[in-house]
Symmetry: C2
Subunit: 143 residues, 2 copies
Amino acid sequence: MNSKMNSQEWAREKIRSAGLRATPARIATLKVLHGSGSPLTHAEVSDKLENLEIDKATIFRNLTDLVAKNVLRRSALGDNVWRFEIIKESAHEHDSHPHFVCVDCGSVSCMEDVELKQKSTSASPLLEHVTEVVLRGHCNECA
Amino acid sequence: MNSKMNSQEWAREKIRSAGLRATPARIATLKVLHGSGSPLTHAEVSDKLENLEIDKATIFRNLTDLVAKNVLRRSALGDNVWRFEIIKESAHEHDSHPHFVCVDCGSVSCMEDVELKQKSTSASPLLEHVTEVVLRGHCNECA
DNA sequence: ATTACACTTGCAACATTATTGCATTTAAGT
DNA sequence: ACTTAAATGCAATAATGTTGCAAGTGTAAT
């Protein structure tokens, strides 16, 4: 990924190399997610693209397609609403991280500085079978 | 909880001590959940109460009310359907531990051997404000 | 540049799950 | 029995997500 690549070109490249066509709707969607520090719902993405007047079905389909191509990750955080975020391709293949959900305001944030450790191998499910970690509580603003 | 108490009386007592009225709909709902080995959806509870002809809104409200009173736990598996189960009051009631939700079968188990560590104090929400930890994945049986 | 065509989109209809307003009924304390 | 707040039934509504199909468009080949 070229460092002088702007967000637009980055998104275009990301979509193309996933084998999809770089349409305005997809580029805009990816740019919105790229500019967000936390996973967004379909409704939130739609809101931010309001001026482009993209159909909601198109946004749903694009989000789904990008998940299928491993560009986005789709997470269930406990409120029965899907949230989408860009999968960062970092040194570690493991980009997945816990998410924090505020029980007061519903805001979601990424907790990249938290990790889990399993003390013993017991009868409980193994950590390696865990696909999602959700922390619920009161965010800094609501606390 | 008296050992010779039958399911009916047990349910009634459970509801009353939660500060709610022991209506037929609530008693029947609790009995269904009590007799089930795994969490049930609203639709599943409804099905089992079909002969009682209880309105679906009533069942939704009762499930919600019982969740609010900590009689039931409501979990999201990722398929946009809530699942409900009775919270068992066991020995480890007070020490908080992560809960594991199987996204395949919906079962919820306790993971007492898992602990969280926050590497650095950053801008993200503090671990001390976390009230509940939910791990989602595939349980040993479904894996 | 033009063209061809599979891929995308917009639109509208639909499906499912869950919630709410309000008049009526009921549980439970007196 | 009486009273009253709590609970229910019914119907309308909201929220989230999906699907069918005709029209439009990004891409690669010409």
